[in-house]
Every structure is written in C-alpha cells, then in structure tokens.
C-alpha cells in the first residue's frame, strides 16, 4: 500500500518509513508539518497517512486536526494518528465518523507486528484504537449504569471490540472460542441496548457512538 508519513522528528520519521518499507509498503511522501501533509495527500491520494499529533508550529493538536481534514476531504485516504500521550480530543468524533481511522500511542510501534497489523486494518477501512485510549474512554468519570451491568469478561471483550479487533482476534487474545466471543458480543450489545449486526466496524461505531453519548 502507498503511505504518507507526517512526523516532525526526522529520525523517527525515517524509522517509521523504514519499518513500513521493510514490510513491503511504499512510502510516497514525508512531511514535517500539517500543511505539507495535506499537500502530499492531495497530490498522491495515498491509502494511508501516518500522522503525529503534535507538529509545528504550535505543537498542540495540529495532527488530529489535519486527520479530520483528510477524512472529510479525502475519504479514500485512511489515517493512523500516533501520539506520545493519551488525548481524547477529536478522537471520538474521528472514530465515529466511520472506518479508516486509528489512534495509537507511539510506543505501540515497538510491537512491530501489531503496528503493521493495525496499519493494514485501518487502510482497509477498519479501526485501531489504543487500549489505553479505550480504557480512558470507557472509564469515563461519569458513572454509567449500563456499563456497570457488564461482567468483567464482557468489559474485556468490549475493550477489544473498541480497539477494532475482530471476533477471531478477541478469541485469540482471551483464549476463548470464537463462538463464546460471539455470545459475549451479543450480550454486550443487548445490555447496551444496541441492535446486533455482523459488521465488525459498525460494532465499534456503535460502541463509540454510545461512549460519545455518555461523554455528553
């Protein structure tokens, strides 16, 4: 797949590019700030943009804002946002807007296979949310009666769902059979009052829409 990387630290940018190239992907553009990122995306229409949150000039949330811009004006380009720390600004909105978006802490890159897997999944229109981000969202300060009804196992499953994993992936991670996972998912969606569908991405969407609703 064809990738554009936006990262202001040159060494890190080259490292990421190397990782992706090692895995057989083509890095078609490298940007150091949000403005040139948008130009490169417009120019190359890549499958995926890997974007750092803090970039020049203000080192604030330029990356997430550029991500939102890309998602709305270039829907064919998926975005994987990398951050040094957990931040939920814009994230819920970006995830809820549909697939093709991921958000990971930068150190997840060190689990190379997981990282490449997430990149692949996002580029294919799926989602990838960092477990810590999911934990932050689910552990939202407001007590939610519906979430309290979930068993610990169901919460684990919900977290993995929210990260964007498939039933098979969840089964592998939790040492369960796929059928058991499917049962858990149905129970969760029922307890949360959401209709069950077979579509992985819509499940995540549903979960995050719900989370957004409880965040107010």
């Amino acid at each position: 797949m064809r990738v554009v990387i936006a990262e202001d630290t040159v060494l890190l940018r080259e490292g990421l590019a190397g990782l992706l190239q090692d895995a057989g992907h083509e890095v078609v553009g490298r940007a150091g700030d949000a403005e040139s990122l948008l130009a490169l995306v417009g120019e190359h229409s890549p499958d995926l943009a890997v974007v750092d949150v803090r970039m020049p000039p203000d080192y604030d949330d330029e990356g997430t804002r550029a991500a939102a811009e890309i998602r709305s004006s270039h829907p064919e380009t998926a975005v994987l946002v990398l951050s040094q720390h957990i931040e939920t600004r814009h994230i819920v909105e970006l995830v809820s807007a549909g697939g093709g978006f991921g958000y990971l802490l930068k150190d997840r890159v060190l689990d190379v296979d997981d990282f490449l897997d997430a990149a692949r999944r996002v580029a294919d229109g799926g989602s990838a949310l960092d477990p810590q981000v999911v934990a932050t969202l689910i552990g939202a300060p407001r007590p939610v009666a519906a979430l309290d009804e979930l068993s610990p196992r169901e919460r684990e499953v919900l977290s993995l769902m929210a990260e964007g994993r498939t039933n098979a992936g969840i089964a592998k991670r939790l040492w369960l059979t796929e059928r058991t996972v499917e049962t858990h998912v149905r129970t969760i969606l029922m307890k949360l009052g959401l209709p069950a569908t077979s579509d992985d991405h819509r499940r995540v969407l549903a979960v995050l829409t719900y989370l957004r609703a409880i965040k107010g």
């Binding site: 630290t9 060494l11 890190l12 490292g15 990421l16 190397g18 990782l19 090692d22 803090r54 080192y59 604030d60 949330d61 040094q84 720390h85 957990i86 931040e87 939920t88 600004r89 930068k106 150190d107 890159v109 060190l110 190379v112 934990a135 932050t136 552990g139 939202a140 300060p141 007590p143 107010g216």
Partner: protein
C-alpha cells in the same frame, strides 16, 4: 518703587498723635475761655480718636510692608485732616483772643482746607487694596479726581476772605482775586470732587465684581463706606437746601467717615488675609494679651502673698511660680480667643480637622478621607489631595490609584508636611486658612499615606506572586513538552532502530533476538516512565480540561474517587492550580486519612472556580501542620484564591478551594 524707611512711618504716626493731642488740648482751652467754634470739645476728641484709627492701621502695615502705598495713604491722610481740624481750634482760640491775630489768620487759612477730609478716602477708593487703579480704563476718572482735588485746595488758598470761626477773616496771603472769578471755579471743582467720590465708589464696585471670593471679602467693607459717602454728601446737601441744620448729623457722619476706612482696612488685613500679615497681627495680639495676663497674674499673686505672708522673697517666688504655671493654659486660651475673633475661618477649619482626627482614632472614619475633610475645611470643592509615594516619587489618590504626574489644570499646589502629600486647591483659598488646615491635616495625611503605600505594596507583592505562579506553570508546560517531544521521541526512535536491526538479522544471528527484545522492552519501559514523569510535571490531559485531567487522576488512585467536575473551562493556569491542589489533597487523604472513598467536585460560578475534595477518613488535618496543606494554601494564595479546611477528628476532611478566574 523705592521704599521709604520705617522711621518715617513712625515719625508720621507720632506727629499725627501729637497733633491730635495738641488739638484736643487747644479745643478744651478754647472752650474754657468761651471761644468755642462750631464743634464742642467732646465731639472734637471723638473725631481725633476716629482719625487715629487709620493712622494705627497704616503704621502697622507700613512697619511690615514699607512699600505699601495704602499704608502711606493711611498715614498721611488722617495727619492732614488732624492738622486742618487742629488749625480750626487754634484759629478759634487765637481770633477769640485778638480778632486780628496774625496767627489766627494763618490758622484760619489752614483750617479752610476742610476738603482734605474727603481726599484721602477718595484716593483709597481708587487704589485699594493693591495701590493701583482697578484697570487702565479708570485713568480718566483718576485724572478728574486729581484735578478736582488740586483745584479745590489751590482755590481755597487763593481766597482773599477766609471762613473763620466768627465770620470772614482776611487771608494773610497777598492775593486779591475777585469772588466772581473764584466762586464759579470753586463750585466747578466741588462738583468735580463730588463726581470723583461717586466714581471712587464705582471703582470699588468694579474691584468687588472682578475679584474672587477672598478679594471680595477684602474690599467689601471699604466698598460699603465708599458707597455711603456720596449718599451722605448728597443727602446732606439736600437737607441743607431745605434749610435744616445738618450739624449734628454732619458731626457723627464725620467721625464715622474718618474711622471707617481704617476699620475697613483693618478688617481686610486681620481677618481676610490682606498683605499676608494677619499672622503677625495674630501673634502680636496673642503676645500682648499673654504678657498682660501674666503680668496681672504675677502682680495679683505677689500682692496677695505679700499681704498674707509679708516676705518679699516668698511673694516673688510664688508669683513667678503662678505665672509659670499659668503660662501654658493661658497661652492656649488666648490663642483660641484671638483665633476665634480674628481668624474665624481658620479657627473653624482647624477644629473641623481635629474632629476628623478624633473620628479616625475612634475608628469612625478612614484616614484616607482626609482629602474630603480638607476640602470641607477650606470650603473648596475643587480641592483634591494626593499622597506622595516616596519609592516611586509618584502620587496616589485615596483609592490607591497611582499618578506619575498631578493634573495641571490651574489649581494651585500646596505641599503638606515634608512631602507627605500635595493638595490641589483653588487659588482663591486664603493663605492663612490654607496654612492652618495643612498643618492640622499633617497627621491624618501621614496615616493615610502609610496605609495607601502599604496597600499598594501588598498589591504589588500579590501580583508578583501571581506572576511567579504563572511563570511556574509555563515552565511546567515547557518541561512536559520537552519530555514528550524530546527524550520520549528519541527513545521511540531508538526502539524502532533496534526493531529494524532485529528484523534484518540473518538467520544465523537469530540468537540475538532475546537480547534485542529485552533491549526494546527496556526502551518501552523508559518511555512509560517518562510519560509518568511528564504527567506529574503537567498532565497533558489538562489541555482537554480540568474534568478530563481529574478523571485520569481518579482512575490512577488507589482509593475509589468520585469525580463530579464541571465541563466549563477556566484559564489554563487556574485549571492547573486546581488540578495540583486536588492531587495534593488526594495524596494527603490517602496517606493520612485512610478513607474508603474520596469525592472531588468542581464548579464554575461568578468568575470563581470552586474545588471541593471530601474524604471519609479520620480527619484531624491542620492547615499549618505537615508540608501538604500549607503548600496547597500557598499555591491557592498565589492565584489570589482561598482555601478552607474542615477536618474534625474522626469525621473526614473537607477542603474547599476558591480560585478567581480572570476571564
């Protein structure tokens, strides 16, 4: 203008007094020999005494201000009048004795100059109080007055027959002008003189209308007199035309007429600050009265003791002691009495400020209100008081607003004490009143100045503490950014390099894999550590708001924490302050209180961010013990907020913080 020496003033006054005494003596002698003229001796004596009043005032002013023209008018005018009147008596006596006495003729010649009675008051009307005409437009009027006066005096000298006490007397001078020439000229000049008196009254009126309040008060009494003269002369002439004798009225009128200008000038000088010599007058009066009273005390005590004990040594010592003891209370009373009589305005004003100081002492007034008290005492609504700030050489008003320069709007500036403050006031405030008020205001002004200065310094300390707190916050933010974007970024890069190295190892070097995995784990651990450290310096989630940051805080806590935080945003440094206070409160609660639950609440209301941390632990926390709570209180105070701790033993702890939000 050259200043005539003072001795001339003394000499003139002495001559005037001597002539008056001589005149009275001659008048009494003449009366005893049946040679009474038109005026009986008591009326004459009254007239002389009345004429001595302006002489005394003139002498007083001339001694203090030798260049003052008014003083010389007051010295020369009455002298001329007294000489003329004395000459009248001499003529009466001499001609009674010998109808053709040469002395009598000469005296009659001088006595014939009766219009001098009007000349000096006329001069005064034109040039009082500054010795100049009210304006150049008055020059023609002054010229008419001068010409008429000179004409009348000259014509009276030229008259071949003089009006003596017992009928016409031939002039001793060898002139022989026909009356048909002299009389029309005389009446013309007389009309001119009457017109001049009227013009003089107008000049006084003009001066009164052009003056400010103080100047008006100074010319008021003389102006009354000036207006009365034409009325009196005109009325007298009318009555005379009707054929009624005006002598008694004329006599009383003359006495008043001669005394009035002196009294009017004396009032202006002593009570309305004319020539700024009222203070001297005041002191002279106090000194004289005090001396008299002490001498009387001494004399009475000495006499009484002498009568009872008989020893002169005893009586002298006791009388001295009594006089010494009486000095202080007598001095104050005499001063008060003199002030009350001769410096009424100042007396009232100073008393008003003393009352104000009493109110300050009793806590019923703020010292800062001294400006209003001074304005009231001076009866000057434009008066405004500013306190001097020695540190910056600037000024502050009663509310502590600092001015580098005082407004320059035509008001006069007067310094209070030794640069304690400055009073801006109307230029028409009497100098003596001002001096008294400023002296009396020095103590409250000093008090108020110190308080204003203290308030300003406190405000400066508070704002500098807030600036330091703000700088500290900015520094934390910078460090947090540096950790995330510097060190952490490099570690991630290092990890990636290691992973790429690992993945590019040839099959035979695969045994390095575990070591490389361990290395990457170390790197990941270091990144996690850095993230924790950075969050301790400043949680990045504060960017998303206090509620988000507190939620993270609660999630990381060992004790269940219920967060109910407002979604309203406050300025970043205020949110950070609230966050760190909540952190410390939570840490303290867990460390010392062993709570089962902690509640953290925030709300924003009326420009205040309120934070409440409540636990159900053992309580008994003290604001001053340990390092946690005082540190928290300092942090809150640096942002201008308040911290209240309620921690009864065994009943948990409740920490309430209020932080003002600038926006």
């Amino acid at each position: 203008m050259s200043r005539p020496p003072r001795w001339i003033a003394c000499a003139l006054a002495a001559v005037t007094a001597a002539t008056a005494v001589a005149g009275i003596v001659v008048s009494v002698v003449a009366a005893s020999r049946g040679a009474d003229g038109d005026v009986p001796p008591p009326a004459f004596a009254a007239f002389f005494v009345a004429a001595l009043v302006p002489t005394a005032v003139g002498l007083f002013v001339a001694l203090r201000r030798p260049g003052n023209r008014i003083a010389w008018i007051l010295l020369v005018g009455p002298l001329s009048v007294i000489v003329v009147m004395t000459a009248n008596e001499v003529a009466a006596l001499a001609l009674h004795h010998r109808p053709h006495s040469n002395l009598g003729a000469w005296a009659a010649l001088v006595a014939n100059q009766w219009p001098v009675l009007f000349l000096w008051p006329l001069a005064l009307a034109f040039v009082f109080p500054d010795g100049r005409l009210p304006s150049p437009r008055w020059r023609p009027a002054a010229a008419i007055a001068t010409a008429a006066s000179a004409g009348i005096v000259t014509l009276l000298f030229l008259a071949p027959k003089l009006d003596g006490p017992y009928g016409k007397v031939p002039s001793p001078l060898p002139f022989d002008f026909p009356e048909s020439v002299l009389l029309p000229l005389f009446w013309t000049c007389w009309a001119g003189l009457l017109a001049s008196l009227f013009l003089g009254a107008m000049a006084m009126r003009a001066r009164y209308r052009a003056g400010d309040a103080q100047q008006r008060r100074q010319v008021l009494w003389l102006a009354y007199g000036a207006l009365l003269v034409p009325l009196w002369l005109g009325g007298g002439s009318l009555v005379a035309l009707l054929g009624v004798s005006t002598d008694p009225i004329d006599g009383i009128g003359l006495v008043i007429f001669q005394a009035w200008p002196g009294v009017a000038v004396a009032i202006a000088v002593t009570r309305h600050g004319l020539y700024a010599i009222d203070r001297l007058f005041n002191r002279t009066l106090v000194y004289a009265a005090l001396t008299a009273l002490l001498a009387a005390t001494y004399a009475v005590v000495a006499l009484l003791v002498g009568l009872v004990v008989g020893g002169s040594a005893w009586s002298a010592s006791l009388a001295t002691l009594a006089a010494a003891l009486a000095f202080r209370p007598l001095r104050d009373r005499v001063q008060n009495a003199v002030d009350r009589r001769f410096a009424r305005a100042r007396f009232e004003a100073v008393r008003l400020l003393r009352d104000f100081l009493d109110e300050v002492r009793e806590g019923r007034a703020e010292p800062e209100d001294v400006g209003a008290a001074v304005a009231l005492a001076l009866d000057d609504r434009t008066a405004e008081l500013f306190f001097r700030l020695p540190e910056t050489a600037g000024y502050a008003d009663r509310n502590g607003h600092v001015l580098d320069d005082l407004p320059d709007d035509g008001r006069r500036r007067s310094v209070i004490g030794r640069e304690l403050g400055v009073l801006l006031h109307s230029p028409s405030v009497a100098p003596d009143l001002l001096r008294g008020v400023l002296d009396a205001a020095a103590v409250p002004v000093e008090l108020a100045r110190l308080r204003v200065e203290l308030r300003l310094q406190l405000a400066e300390v508070e704002s500098s503490r807030a600036r330091i707190a703000q700088a500290g916050y900015a520094e934390r933010r910078r460090i947090e950014r540096d950790l995330h974007d510097g060190a952490q970024q490099r570690l991630v890069t290092l990890g990636i390099v290691l992973r790429r190295l690992q993945r590019s190892l040839p099959r035979e070097a695969q045994l390095l894999n575990p070591a490389l995995d361990a290395a990457v784990d170390e790197v990941a651990g270091a990144i996690a550590d850095l993230r924790t450290i950075a969050a301790g310096v400043r949680p990045p989630r504060l960017d998303e708001g206090l509620a988000a940051a507190l939620a993270d805080l609660a999630r990381g806590s060992a004790v269940p924490v219920d967060v109910a935080a407002t979604a309203d945003r406050a300025p970043p440094e205020v949110e950070a302050a609230a966050y760190f206070v909540a952190c410390e409160a939570l840490t303290n609660a867990v460390k010392h209180g062993s709570p089962t639950r902690v509640a953290v609440q925030t709300e924003r209301e009326n420009g205040v961010l309120r934070l409440l941390v409540i636990d159900d632990g053992v309580g008994g926390a003290h604001a001053t013990s340990g390092t946690g709570l005082p540190g928290m209180a300092d942090r809150v105070a640096a942002h201008g907020g308040t911290l209240a701790i309620d921690s009864p033993p065994g009943a948990g702890t409740r920490i309430a913080v209020e932080l003002p939000c600038a926006s």
